[in-house]
Amino acid sequence: MNFEPVIGLEIHVQMKTKSKMFSGSPNSFSHTPNSEVTPFDMAFPGTMPRVNKQAVINAIRVANALHMEIDPLVRFDRKNYFYADLPKGFQITQQFHPIGKNGYLDILDENGNTKRIRIERIHMEEDTCKQLHFPDCSLLDYNRAGTPLVEIVSMPDIRSGTEAMHYVEAIRNIVVYSLSSDGKMEEGSLRCDVNVSLRPFGSEKFGTKVELKNLNSIKNIEQALDYEIARQSACLLSNTPIQQETRRFDEGSGKTVLMRVKTDAVDYKYFPEPNIAPIQLSEAFIEEAINTCPEFYDSKKTRYLTYGLPEKDVEIILSSLDSALYFEKAIQGVNYVKTIANFLIVEINSYLNKNGISIKELKLSPEHLRDIAAYQEEGYSHKQCADILFYCLEHDDCSPAEAKSALKIEKQISDDGAIRELVNQVLEANPQSIEDYKNGKGRAVGFLIGQAMKLSKGKANPQAVSKIMNEELAKK
């Protein structure tokens, strides 16, 4: 018997803002514990929350990208529970009135067909502090306490690990390209909780759901779901009841492992946050947030395709926001986009991979890449330009012009007429070789081309010389 997987995702995204969700403390992910903390973040008595405007703007932008209804009246609620990582004893969240609801996202299913995933809600909240557990003690780092979060909750519309992976990829592209978040799963700035249950095909009723945690890469989501679907399917086939439980993904074994069995749901005693009066957003504010939103992945992709770049190349350029931003600076004001894209995709990417660095650490400015590509447009060979590029990468603050003169690179002669003249000069000077050619001695052509190159002092384009030499010989 076959089963249909029913999958829903809750995604927490840490937002990139200058300060925290409700305090003026910097939000820069410092690695020195407890260095970015205000009295509010530690819940000192008498401190009060102040809503971060940029966080609201980011949430509006993401909600808009997810085609959601945006609530112009921003309200917050308290979620009450005691836990070591929760300084106030409650979390400020948006339980009753999320900033966005009833949206959707179109993704590709396994077969490459478009599929619509409905999204229930997106709401703003604050992160908890970070716990570090040791054998004899636990330590608390309040740097993370109060980091702005949005939580995006999907409807249970996802049917496979691949779909889940595509969904998370699409969400990540939205939050990263709108500059709302770093979207780094491995660093926890994008965290996924996955709910999965199975039911017989055709059944309307949901099966018992299991929650998966600790999925810290997009690949893990697919792997964990594939494993979990197989596990639950085996349970059902062998009449073993599935328990409502939380499981974590173990990267080493590729399996999901039981964390805890869910007992009755905790009562969080939600009620409206009395220290934040409801904020009425004007239509103009919402429009401005949307209109000034940085360009999304999909829109960039469409635009790049109009430059005549192959889809595969476009996807490589867009594989990171930094590479896309670098590319856009480099192509500013020029029409030889393809040449620039080639250097970026081939030479620069291989240099980055070889040296294990990111494009942000690259020593070559986008403007210099543009200058190098311009040389190729002027008639320098790709190889010559690549030499200039690598020279620049190896020499700090070296401009392409300086590299060119240091490498004594000169422009090739590729003008047809000039080359034909060279070729004819050589042919006139070497009648014997023409004879040899006529007698079928292949080597003669090579000799003649060599002579022509020598005569041009190496500046002639070898392909062009070869082509014209053969043409002229054929006339003899």
Binding site: M42, F44, P45, G46, M48, R50, P87, K88, G89, P274
Partner: protein
């Protein structure tokens, strides 16, 4: 007469004319604080002469608060000064920041002499539940009668004549009720008019910064300093402030007062009623109009239950930060649960735990609809009725309390079946967040009685002018145990 018994503006004039120095003012205060045996202080913060002069700098002619001594309720955060809110759960807690109110007073060179006692965490109305025990009423040398709470220490300090004003907080009536028992002016402006940043929260939707003064005009002088938006308090208002002293002496001609019938009816104290009626007569003589209105008895009787449900629900959440992990005494434990449980078991008194249980119960999923949400709906009804009455008058005028301060034996903070409308109506001002002021009415066997005025939101200037007119009638401005007065009524 001591300088400290005068209005702030008069003291300022004396400082300006060099009749008195800031240090002499301080010495007057110290003498009185030494004689204060009412358990009004958590700790004293009296500066030395040298410290005082260094803090004050040269005389500031345009700053009425320069060198004026005051005391501060111990639930305002004070940088570098232990602040416990009279609860063991905060013993040893030394804040790293000043409350906005404290900062503003510091900027204006007012001199803080001490942190005053309160009912634990400002929850309570008797002045008996703080970790330092009972705070007494300076008007009662026999120490049988309470001063009221929760701002008991501030009321007792000012009624003893220790200083010129005292900060307080008011969630149900915690400034305005003790003001009535201690012969003081007790004022809280509109919710949002004064920043609450740094005030330890009890129930934020009801919490107000308030204060006690000896004179109505001092209340106006202080509001000029304390009112205004504060970026640190997201609920503080952007409504423009004004000079609240300008209209003080506008008089009563044509002013309309509404008296709530059910509140008067529930006052048994014949003397209190007589004095209240005498006041009304005087108001009418001076051109004021007094009308009796009905509020609805059922609605008035529901005030306390509504208040308890909402305030306890908010309190149980606000005080969840007091878990022994970040500040306050740490009692250890083998898990975070044990650490929290130990701190909260040992840190809170029984009465506080009782309120937390009530609040938590009201917020439980299965009870929210029937308790918390129902209380919110009832609050909205009460607010609507209050605003309806205020739409037709300048202020609501009522006795601040049914009688003089009661004896300790007769009072308790536990819920009881005995219910007096006149004992609980001041919470109307908290439900609706309206400006409300208590002013001394008369004395009964040496113990003060007070009246209360409440007006529309952000009409502090008008309310203070009405209060000034009442003070002019009663003649009790400047009253304290060391500056006794008989009054005109």
């Amino acid at each position: 007469m001591r300088y400290l018994d005068k209005p702030i503006a008069a003291i300022h004039a004396a400082l300006k004319n060099k009749e008195v120095t800031p240090y002499q003012l301080l010495q007057e205060a110290i003498a009185q604080i030494k004689a204060n045996d009412c358990n009004a202080y958590e700790r004293l913060t009296i500066p030395s002469e040298e410290e005082l002069m260094k803090e004050l700098g040269p005389f500031e002619e345009d700053n009425l608060l320069y060198g004026i001594p005051y005391v501060c309720k111990d639930n305002f955060s004070t940088k570098g000064i232990e602040t416990t809110a009279s609860s063991n759960v905060l013993n040893g807690y030394v804040p790293v920041f000043d409350a906005t109110v404290v900062q503003k007073l510091k900027d204006k060179k007012a001199v803080m002499l001490g942190k005053t006692t309160l009912d634990e965490l400002a929850m309570g109305g008797t002045g008996t539940t703080g970790h330092k025990g009972i705070t007494y009423n300076p008007f009662d040398p026999s120490k049988k009668r309470m001063v009221g709470g929760s701002s008991c220490g501030s009321a007792a300090a000012l009624a003893n004549g220790d200083c010129c004003f005292a900060t307080g907080s008011d969630t149900g009536d915690s400034v305005r009720k003790p003001a009535s028992f201690a012969g003081l002016v007790g004022f809280k402006p509109t919710w949002g008019r004064i920043s609450r940043f740094g005030l330890f929260p009890f129930a934020p939707s009801l919490d107000h910064v308030g204060y006690f003064t000896h004179y109505v005009e001092d209340a106006a002088v202080l509001l000029n300093v304390l009112a205004g938006h504060d970026d640190m308090d997201f609920t503080s208002s952007y409504v423009p402030t004004e000079d609240y002293t300008v209209h003080l002496h506008d008089g009563l001609k044509g002013k309309k007062f509404a008296v709530i019938k059910e509140i008067i009816d529930s006052v048994d104290d014949v003397y209190n009623k007589a004095k209240f009626n005498a006041l009304i007569k005087k108001i009418e003589e001076e051109g004021g109009v007094v009308e009796c209105v009905e509020f609805g008895e059922e609605l008035l009787r529901s005030i306390y239950a509504t208040y308890i449900v909402i305030s306890c629900a908010e309190a149980t959440s606000n005080d969840a930060n007091l878990d022994g992990i970040k500040f306050g005494p740490y009692y250890g434990g083998n898990s975070y649960q044990e650490v929290m449980m130990n701190a909260r078991t040992k840190g809170f008194s029984e009465l506080i735990k009782r309120r937390f249980v009530i609040g938590s119960f009201a917020l439980m999923k299965e009870n929210q609809e029937d308790l918390f949400l129902r209380a919110q709906r009832n609050r909205a009804k009460i607010v609507e009725k209050t605003n309806e009455i205020l739409a037709n008058c300048d202020a609501i005028l009522v006795p601040a309390a049914p009688s003089i301060a009661s004896e300790f034996a007769q009072s308790s903070d536990k819920l009881s079946s005995e219910y007096l409308i006149a004992d609980n109506h001041l919470a109307l001002g908290n439900f609706a967040g309206l400006p409300s002021i208590t002013i001394p009415l008369a004395l009964e066997n040496g113990m003060p009685l007070g009246i209360n005025l409440m007006s529309k939101a952000f009409t502090e200037a008008s309310l203070l002018s009405l209060a000034q007119a009442v003070e002019d009638i009663t003649g009790l401005g400047g009253l304290s145990a060391i500056n006794p007065k008989e009054g005109n009524l």
